[in-house]
Symmetry: C2
Subunit: 159 residues, 2 copies
DNA sequence: GCCGATTAGTTTACACGTAAGATTGTCGCA
DNA sequence: TGCGACAATCTTACGTGTAAACTAATCGGC
């Protein structure tokens, strides 16, 4: 377990121009690597990270949700949701239900098949979380979350 | 500037299962938002974040590089590089040069046009960095980088 | 010198993410 | 009632990320 820092890791010969640049690159790089790890975890179950994310949101909500509300909770811009739901529906993991009062909105409902699939993934998912950052102390994890939340504070509202 | 934390931000009603989960979600979410911001910055110049990344690597190196070496410095897996280089080449921002000694390797060279484009972007790029996390103190930035590097330490070698 | 293993790079197929624009349905107001 | 603004969703086009399979060139032994 080598403890190379980011500069060595990406083979850069000059030091970073600024602490800001180093921090942002660290955020982007760590995220990419973690995203990749989760992608590999979900793959055997036929899910992508985004698809898993949608299902987790639906399970957490406990009842059908309009698709735009799902999109709001993800970082993505709206149009991606359509295709995402299409693919989940093709796997019988969600159902679309047109709302009768406002016929513009489409409710998305999670299926029992999806719930049992999620249940299967729960433990490996938890294990991966621990594998990825279980070696940080509680204090470090709290501090990390605090700093990232503070980092986002400048534009939570601008999206 | 509301200081909602992640839990409120994504509308989750239950607290997180664990500090690990909260930290990882914070990393992924912050990264997505920042990535998005840089995407908007580069768009007017006809570049995507990945394309900009490739050009920055080439400028930093100061001389032509084999394409796989470029891929190594990015998070991406190899095959994506081909198309990336194709599009940069179509814009006359890089050139491909087959190596004469080892005819398997293709050297990628940055063009003067790309260098002057980068120069144009340097200042807005620096400004965005400051806008995104300039409100964190030097100590906080250092601590953030340290924690993220520590987070990655468990798998720097496994990629 | 020849054959298998390795390495650099490409191709293909598929799932996203983004922006821009089109569709369809609802609402406010004259 | 009719009409324009708005809202929810979908469509399209393009760039990117992933895995798997393929090509071409080099290397290592014998």
């Amino acid at each position: 377990m080598s403890h190379r820092n980011l500069q060595q890791e990406i083979g850069k010969k000059q030091p970073f121009d600024s602490l800001e640049q180093a921090a942002i690159l660290n955020i982007l790089r760590t995220s990419d690597i973690f995203h990749n790890q989760f992608g590999r975890l979900f793959r055997p179950y036929g899910l992508t990270p985004s698809q898993y994310n949608v299902l987790r949101i639906l399970r957490g909500e406990g009842k059908p949700m309009p698709s735009l509300e799902i999109a709001d909770r993800m970082v993505q811009v709206v149009p991606a949701i359509t295709g995402l739901i299409d693919r989940l529906q093709a796997q019988n993991l969600v159902k679309r239900k047109r709302c009768t009062e406002d016929r513009r909105v489409v409710y998305i409902e999670i299926t029992p098949k999806a719930l049992s699939l999620l249940k299967e993934i729960d433990e490996p998912d938890l294990n991966l979380h621990r594998k990825l950052i279980g070696h940080l102390s509680s204090d470090e994890l709290s501090e990390l979350s605090r700093l990232l939340e503070k980092a986002r504070a400048s534009l939570v509202c601008t999206k």
